[in-house]
């Protein structure tokens, strides 16, 4: 495929200073508009000339979308807050350390300086067949090139596939799900809609061309962290090919409260295994009320991978996910790694 790299197609650049002004541009250009946050996802699309928007709306000048604020005993993080700001914020460090770990693991320092948390949770799938501009299901076509007998699908989904087998690449997404974060959306009509982080992401069965519930013209404005899980026992682990920075092969996040050695409450989510980050409700139900030990971890881990359907080259993700869930429940040192 002839791809002209590093030379972006021409477009109108808008740098509004308010959400209303940004949405006015989005409304004016409709499907021809493109929302630019940190640009880490967008510039690939534009330079590869796979996406050719008429207008790019850069949200970087909208002050109200930036910064971290106290709110109702929790925190409200503006969607345009960089990952570096999230990592360095004392409130995040003290109460929501799992988000710090996830944001820190997302990328190298240079990328974290530029990438935003809103962009990280809203980024598109990284399936290379899709990113190459081929007419796959996610691109509006009628085939999944990654789910064929000879496809290179080492990084693709083992759960929740519905025609498309791409996975969600966000590292902060599972952490936000276990923190019960609320995503604040400004709808195209100017109204405000708040959805849980769990419901923010959509799988291909619901909408095969989108990763999130964001409708055209809508903007994610903030992420609210309630105090529900503040200060809980957290666990985050991301397995990747290159430790310096890479997308997750599988990642796991958990938040837990215990009474003695018994698990009182737990939320656990994984990413890199499906088109949306998965909250493992069945695992939570099994683990709650049980002792935090190897036996509980094994039962929960086996339950987590039930129904997994590996593709040609990603069967390794099944034991990987099982072990990560086990470690998330039992802890790194105590949980024996099994294949």
């Amino acid at each position: 495929m002839a791809v002209i790299r590093d030379v972006m197609p021409a477009f109108e650049l808008f740098q509004p200073t308010s959400v209303e002004a940004a949405q006015a541009v989005l409304d004016r250009y409709g499907a021809g508009a493109w929302v630019l946050a940190g640009g880490l996802d967008s510039l690939d699309w534009l330079k590869d000339r796979i996406r050719r928007p008429q207008a790019v709306v850069d949200l970087g000048a909208i002050a109200e979308l930036k910064g971290i604020r106290e709110r109702d005993g929790g925190l409200e993080i503006g969607a345009m807050t960089t990952l570096t700001e999230v990592v360095r914020h004392p409130g995040v460090r003290e109460r929501y350390a799992i988000l710090l770990e996830a944001a820190e693991a997302a990328a190298s320092p240079q990328i974290r300086n530029q990438a935003t948390i809103g962009g990280n949770v809203s980024q598109d799938a990284r399936c290379w067949y899709y990113r190459a501009g081929w007419p796959c299901y996610r691109a509006g076509g009628n085939i999944c090139y990654a789910d064929t007998p000879d496809a290179i699908n080492r990084e693709h989904a083992i759960l929740g596939a519905d025609r498309c087998v791409a996975v969600n690449p966000s590292d902060t997404a599972p952490a936000l799900i276990v923190l019960d974060a609320q995503m604040v959306i400004r709808t195209a009509g100017g109204g405000e809609r708040v959805v849980s982080a769990e419901d923010y992401f959509v799988g291909p069965g619901i909408d095969i061309t989108r990763m999130t519930v964001l409708e055209p013209g809508a903007l994610l404005t903030a992420i609210r962290l309630p105090r529900t899980w503040a200060g809980a026992q957290f666990y985050f682990e991301k397995i990747r090919d290159r430790q310096v920075w890479d997308f997750a092969l599988v990642s796991v996040a958990s938040a837990m409260t215990t009474s003695g050695s018994t698990i009182e409450r737990i939320r656990i989510a994984v990413n890199g295994v499906a088109a949306r980050p998965l909250r493992l409700r069945a695992v939570e139900a099994v683990a709650e009320g049980r002792p935090r030990n190897e036996a509980t971890a094994v039962v929960a881990a086996n339950l987590a991978v039930e129904g997994a359907q590996p593709l040609g080259f990603n069967a390794y993700k099944v034991p990987l996910m099982r072990n990560l869930v086990k470690r998330a429940i039992r802890g790194v040192e105590a949980a024996a790694w099994t294949s």
Partner: protein, 295 residues
Amino acid sequence: MDILTWGRNPWDQPVLTHISWNLLWAALFAGLAFLVAHASYMIFSAHRKRHAAETDAMEIARADLPDRIVRHSLPARLFHWLMAAAMFTLLITAFLPVVGLRFPWVTWHWIAGLTLTGSILFHIIHATVWLDFWSIWVGPRDLPELRAELLRDLGHDVPGPRPGKYPLGNRLYHLAIVVVALVAVVTGLCMMVRIRTPFFTRNPYLFSDTTWGVTYVDHGLAGVTLVGLVIAHVYFAARPEKWWITKAMILGWITRRQYLEHHDPDRWAVRQLPTPNSATPNSTTPNSGLASPTL
């Protein structure tokens, strides 16, 4: 308005991918426009049906017929309603996501598709073995009936043939639905090898890109055509003057008077079934039992 959507395959060749979903709105518009046009025509037209006096005379002459005449057997009715349920499920699961109501539709869609396929296979066998197979089809022999029906619609009182078991409109609709539904079913079955089901091993390379494109386009065209056809079908089923046909699809029978008023007994001869109260075929005593159509 684009009718088809195209993509470029990995060899940078243009390939068909789908129909444009604008055609869904076109089909809806066409179906509703037909509905409005027909309803308006029926209000102002001088459609002629058999005179009451003529029907009265026929009732006296054919008093040997029972009060109720079987029009649709139980298996035929079960097939019809099962097919209707499958068809509505198919259309709902196919098009609600297109208009913005999102839900996991694929599994429901192929289950309904297989149900429709199974019911069609049953119908073919049932109609071939147990029913008058040719009574639903149209051909050159129906031209006199077509002419007579057109003239009656224009207000003329003509003696031409009345319908046999199925009115001409019924038969034309059946022909259309056979063609369109078979296209949808055959293409849909092919498309099932592209998704995960318990029945097939996924093989997206079963056909060439071009053949797949044509398959998807044919499936889409059949789908939007079915939208228009179903609108027309539901409309006719709900029209007051057609309610006796709809009722027959529920209860299975029509009255003797409806039989004589709307049908040509020579083209749909009724064979009387012996019942505990039945009189002899030549008796003039009204028969309260059921009669079945000749096979």
